[in-house]
Symmetry: C2
Subunit: 225 residues, 2 copies
C-alpha cells in the first residue's frame, strides 16, 4: 500500500473536506485503487484557535495532540493539518511525533518565494495575523506584503465565522469587498491563509490571483507519498 | 464530546467525501465546536467489490476488517460504510465489532417502505444488483421495483467506473439516458443505490425523484449520535 496521509482536521470540518477533495483532485488515478490512502480525524470540538491566541482562551494543544496520537496509531506516515491558525502550536506537535508533519505556512511561503511574488495580501484569521505566522517568514525573505487594516481584518474574521456558522453566502458577501479594497491599494495576489477561505471563495477560481495554502499543502503531501 | 462517527470508506474516495459532506450539511451547527466528530478511513486499495461478487476476485473483507479495527481503536462508536456493494459483507463486519454498525440497504429500504414508494428503479453496481442486496428486502415488503435490463446495467456500471477514473462528465452523460429510458417505462423514483451516483448526478437535485442511500445513512447516523 502507498504511504498513508493523516489529516489532523475538524478546524473546521468543511476545510478538512476541502483538503481531502484536493488530495483526490491532485492524484492521477484511473480507478479507486490508485488513490492515496487517507485517515482523517475531524474533531470539531478542538478549542477555538484564534480565541486562545488573542485572549488566552483554552489551549487547543491537548486535543490536537490526542488527535495526532490516533493518526499515528492508525498508521499515518505523513501528517497534514488543514488549519493555518493551528500552526501556532506546530513546533509542539512536530516534536511529539515520528511521522512526517508538514507545515502549511512554510510550504506556502516557499511557493511565494520560488515564484518571486510580491505585493501580496494575507487573508487569514485574526489569530494567524496577530501571531505573525506568515509575516515573520515573508519579512525574512524580503517579500513585500500587505496586512488588512483593523476594520478589514474584523470583516475577514466575520466572514470566516459566518462560514463556520453555515452561512456561506454571507461569508462570500463579506469577504469580496475587502478583496476589492486591497486590490485598489495595489495588492496583486492573495494568500488564502485560512483554510476556510478557498471554501468561501469557491466560485472564484482565478488561480493566478490566489495562492491557496491548502492546495500547496496537499500537493506537498502527495509528492511525499 | 459527542459520539464519534467512523466512516469505513475509500470505496471510492469521492463517495466517502460525499458522505462526510452530508454529515456536515445535516448537522445544525453555528460554530465548529457544534459539529459531530468524525474519523474517516479512506483506503482506496480495498479490492473491487463488484469484481469479487461477480467473478470471485480477491475478497475485500480482510481489508475492510482492518479498517474497522482502526476505527474502533480510534474510538468510533457508530460506523457507516458509504458503499452499497460492500454491504454484501455486512454480516461478517457487524458481528466483528461492538460499535453500532449501520446498514445502508436496510435504512434506505425502511425509507422506501415508510413513504409507500412504488415503481422504483435500482441504480447500483452490477455487484449490488447480482447479489440482490436491494431486491430481497423490497420483495419481502411488496414494493414494486424495476431492475435495469442487462444493456442498461452495463451502461450504469460504465458510468460508475468512468466517475471512479476521474471523468465525471462522461459518467453523467452515460447515466442520464438510462434514467430517461427507465422513466419511459413507468419508473417514478430512483434509488441512488451506489454511493457514486449522487456524486455523478450532483447537478440534478430533484429530491423527489431520487432516494439517496448515502443521505439516508448519514441522517440515521446523526440521529444516533
Amino acid at each position: 500500500m502507498k504511504k498513508i496521509i493523516g489529516v489532523l482536521g475538524g478546524m473546521g470540518p468543511a476545510a478538512t473536506l476541502d483538503a481531502m477533495e484536493k488530495i483526490i483532485k491532485n492524484t492521477p488515478a484511473t480507478c479507486d485503487q490508485e488513490h492515496i490512502p487517507v485517515i482523517a480525524i475531524s474533531f470539531p470540538d478542538i478549542p477555538d484557535r484564534t480565541a486562545s491566541i488573542l485572549s488566552g482562551g483554552e489551549s487547543p494543544l491537548n486535543k490536537m495532540l490526542a488527535a495526532l496520537r490516533i493518526l499515528e496509531a492508525a498508521g499515518a506516515q505523513c501528517i497534514i493539518m488543514p488549519c493555518n491558525t493551528a500552526h501556532y502550536w506546530y513546533d509542539e506537535l512536530r516534536v511529539s511525533t515520528k511521522a512526517h508533519f508538514l507545515n502549511i505556512i512554510d510550504i506556502t511561503c516557499n511557493k511565494i518565494v520560488s515564484e518571486g511574488v510580491n505585493n501580496i495580501a494575507i487573508l487569514a484569521t485574526t489569530g494567524t495575523i496577530k501571531a505573525n505566522l506568515y509575516q515573520d517568514r515573508l519579512r525574512k525573505e524580503n517579500v513585500r506584503f500587505v496586512i488588512p487594516d483593523d476594520i478589514q481584518q474584523g470583516v475577514i474574521m466575520d466572514s470566516i465565522l459566518a462560514y463556520k456558522s453555515g452561512d456561506g453566502e454571507r461569508a462570500y458577501q463579506l469577504l469580496k469587498p475587502v478583496i476589492y479594497q486591497l486590490k485598489n491599494i495595489g495588492v496583486e495576489r492573495f494568500i488564502m491563509g485560512c483554510t476556510e477561505i478557498p471554501v468561501i471563495l469557491r466560485k472564484d477560481c482565478d488561480k493566478k490571483e490566489y495562492i491557496d495554502a491548502t492546495e500547496e499543502l496537499v500537493r506537498c503531501a502527495i509528492d511525499w507519498c
